[in-house]
């Protein structure tokens, strides 16, 4: 090692940690402090210890429900996104394929568009009476009456949200898998060919296992992001009807996610900041837990990864 170099390492990381302390750690600690209080955001605080946390798991009507909703949405959307992203990546993985760049770009487009726009557009497209999807389906004679996609029906409404999430994210997954595919040495495929392995066999026996790190990465990232799901369901439901004091979670609270529940608890008519803070802290623990489990499931069996 060179003399005096180590000092620079600290100098390089200090701005980040100062920034982190000021802009995130302090606010987060403050939230933790609030989570131990009974506080409406206005007026006095009352210390109640861990009561807010206990409330979440006992008497709170929405926390468990929102957790289950979130889990259901994650569990359906992540595998679908993975499958679609992988299929498209495999199809595009061919240097000679001419349209590759165009398909890559257009499939990635949904990932970079403003959530507000996505919410508004999907809300409009799947509107029961005025939406373009129902009108098209009726005009084409496929349906007689429109389907109330966003009406709170457990299946349809979640289906649309999952569709939105898959639509938005599979391009990102696709790019991840493309990179993963390009990092696999061609010799491996050659060897497989020599052994007489069919294409499909090669894919499942060789390619897929080699893509495991990519899968692990996208799964972890999706769990972290998915547990915090808020923008998409909120904008999907509220996109056009913001004037109407909408019910948190939409009709029947079908899409009430943990973060939506947090916003509604803290900033909505209930104005329960203490409980809201407790929701986010509990969510944090769940995210860490699920990520850990996710890592274990993928990494646990073969240690070399």
């Amino acid at each position: 090692m060179f003399k005096g170099v180590r000092k620079w390492a600290y100098i390089f990381i200090v701005p980040f940690f100062i920034g982190y302390f000021v802009f995130q750690l302090f606010p987060n600690l403050y939230s933790f402090y609030i989570s131990l209080m009974e506080w409406s955001g206005i007026g006095e605080m009352k210390f109640i210890g861990l009561k807010n946390y206990i409330t979440l798991f006992t008497t709170d009507p929405y926390f468990i429900k929102s957790l289950l909703n979130t889990a259901a949405i994650i569990v359906t959307s992540i595998p679908l996104t993975i499958i679609l992203g992988l299929i498209v990546a495999v199809m595009l993985f061919d240097e000679k394929f001419r349209g590759r760049r165009f398909f890559q770009l257009s499939n990635f487009l949904p990932y970079i568009v403003t959530p507000v726009a996505v919410g508004l557009i999907f809300n409009y497209m799947f509107d029961w009476k005025a939406g373009i999807i129902n009108k098209l389906l009726i005009n084409l004679g496929i349906l007689k009456d429109g389907i109330d996609w966003l009406g709170g029906d457990l299946f349809f409404t979640r289906f649309i949200l999952v569709l939105l999430l898959v639509w938005q994210n599979f391009g990102y997954f696709m790019i991840m898998y493309l990179a993963g595919l390009s990092s696999i040495s061609p010799e491996i495929y050659e060897a497989a060919k020599v052994d007489g392995s069919s294409k499909i066999n090669t894919f499942f026996k060789i390619t897929l296992p080699l893509l495991k790190p990519v899968t692990l990465f996208v799964v972890i990232i999706s769990i972290i992001g998915g547990m915090q799901l808020f923008d998409q369901p909120y904008l999907l439901m509220m996109g056009t009807a913001r004037g109407l004091a909408g019910t948190a979670g939409g009709p029947n609270r079908t899409l009430l996610t943990v973060m939506w529940n947090f916003y509604d608890t803290a900033f909505g008519p209930r104005m329960n900041y203490g409980l809201g803070a407790a929701i986010t802290y509990t969510l944090f623990i769940f995210i860490v837990g699920f990520s850990y489990v996710g890592i274990r499931i993928f990494k646990g069996r073969d240690k070399e990864l």
């Binding site: 009476k129 005025a130 109330d148 009406g151 009807a241 913001r242 109407l244 004091a245 009709p251």
Partner: protein
């Protein structure tokens, strides 16, 4: 990312714990000090105080700030820029030294933004507003100037009686004043009425539809004649708006939900309409609802005093003569309104009040009426024979909608008192109405769901059977 990950979580949590508890040590004392200040915590029942204040008033003049002295920049968060600027430009002709910082805000975000700003200790707008739904909650915040007290000395007796309780906070102080009266009727498309009821005359139609039973029967016929394509209302929410408004009994006494039978009654009615196929399913304020104003499939819409110029005409601009407004079956109701008050920590209280005073008690009231069609709730304006004749409206086929709303409907109107629970109750109502619309639950189930859900939103509520 192995074991150390777990350790870090534990570490962060324990640091948070320690930090939080040590923070608590000092905050507790502060809280105790604050507590004294907030001691006279809001209570719900104060109508008695109200009356006392009314009596001791009267001798003092309502404060009119001096146009030469009132100055500064007045901040307002509002959702009707064009309308507001029309007023403001006239106002600055009288008060030339007052400047405006207009911040556009969706009305749906108003309460959130106020709440969070209070919590974060941020500045509030100098002119505070309160729409009818979040108003009850807003009035419980200690942010309003007391307009009964010095220097404002508002003479309550000059205001229409029903608006005083609507702007009074739980302490019984007048915190804000409605800038327009909102009696409401039913707007309808004349050609549809002519086709299905044989008349498009508002009085004849009101006579034909004296009560909701008849309304429902007629609705069924309309449905039948049109082959199922014509609905009486565009949404269950519109029906609810009218019916619930016609039962203006107070919802709460303290934390007790009284008059649950009102909910029972109105749920029963809307379910009846739903079952009869009278209600379409376009969410109020949604684009499809707005666009339904131009179609021939929906007959009736709730219409308050601001409805003609802000809802109907902008959304069906090219149809002069197509609309009328009538007295609904079983009478009128009150719908909407916004109170205007002064922020109690404002640095430009005189300028902020100058504007409110000018619009309510000054010449601004006339500008409101002529430019925006707002009828300010001041008794003296309508004393004696008020001449409505200038308000014949060609858009409504020459009908005098103002006269109908203010002369026919308004005098008999009762207005439901606002409470801090209104927003929460609305949330639950929305939830249940959607269940009726989407799942076709019965009125009884609706009531049960309402009762079951209410304590989730208002933990300390007590439902009195």
């Amino acid at each position: 990312m192995k074991k150390s990950l777990l350790w870090i979580v534990v570490l962060i949590l324990s640091i948070s714990m320690v930090a939080a508890f040590s923070l608590y040590g000092c905050k507790a004392e502060e809280a105790a000090v604050e507590e004294e200040a907030v001691e006279e915590a809001p209570t719900e029942e104060v109508p008695e105080v109200e009356e006392e204040v009314v009596e001791e008033e009267t001798t003092v003049e309502t404060w009119t700030p001096d146009p030469d002295e009132a100055s500064g920049v007045v901040t307002i968060w509002y959702w009707d820029q064009a309308g507001f600027e029309t007023m403001w430009n006239k106002f600055t002709e009288v008060y030339p030294n007052v400047e405006l910082n207009y911040v556009a805000l969706n009305s749906a975000d108003y309460l959130d933004k106020i709440q969070t700003s209070i919590t974060g200790g941020l500045e509030l707008p100098d002119i505070l507003l309160g729409e009818i739904d979040p108003r009850g909650k807003l009035l419980t915040f200690d942010i309003w100037e007391n307009l009964d007290a010095e220097p404002y000395n508002v003479d309550r007796s000059k205001l229409m009686d029903f608006v005083v309780p609507l702007g009074t906070n739980p302490e019984g102080e007048l915190a804000g004043i409605d800038n327009l009266m909102c009696p409401a009727g039913l707007a309808y498309k004349a050609p549809l009425a002519k086709e299905y009821f044989g008349t498009d005359d508002p009085d004849e139609l009101s006579a034909m539809l004296p009560d909701w039973d008849t309304f429902i029967e007629e609705g069924k016929e309309v449905k039948e004649k049109s082959g199922g394509s014509v609905y009486m209302f565009a949404t269950i929410f519109d029906a609810w708006r009218v019916l619930f408004g016609q039962n203006p009994q107070p919802m709460f006494d303290g934390n007790k939900l009284i008059n649950i039978d009102v909910f029972e009654e109105v749920f029963t009615r809307v379910v009846e309409m739903m079952d009869a196929g009278l209600l379409d399913a376009l969410a109020t304020w949604s684009p499809s609802w707005f666009s339904s104003f131009t179609d021939d499939n929906h007959v009736f819409y709730p219409c308050s005093s601001w409805g003609p110029q802000f809802v109907i005409q902008p959304n069906d601009p090219d149809s002069e003569g197509r609309w009328r407004v009538m007295v609904p079956p079983e009478g009128g109701y009150y719908y909407g309104g916004t109170i205007w008050g002064v922020w109690n920590e404002s640095k430009v209280k005189d300028a902020a009040w100058a504007y409110i005073n000018w619009t309510i008690f000054g010449d601004g009231a006339d500008v409101y009426r002529e430019e925006l069609g707002y009828f300010v709730p001041r008794k003296d304006l309508y004393a004696g024979e008020f001449d409505y004749s200038p308000y014949d409206d060609p858009y409504f086929g020459g009908q005098n909608v103002k006269e109908l709303l203010f002369k026919t409907i308004a005098p008999e109107l009762q207005v439901r008192p606002v409470t801090k629970y209104d927003e929460s109750v609305n949330d639950v109502i929305n939830l249940v109405l959607l269940q009726i619309e989407k799942e076709g639950i019965t009125a009884d189930e609706a009531l049960q769901n309402f009762k079951a859900e209410l304590p989730n939103m208002i933990p300390d509520v007590e439902i009195v059977e």
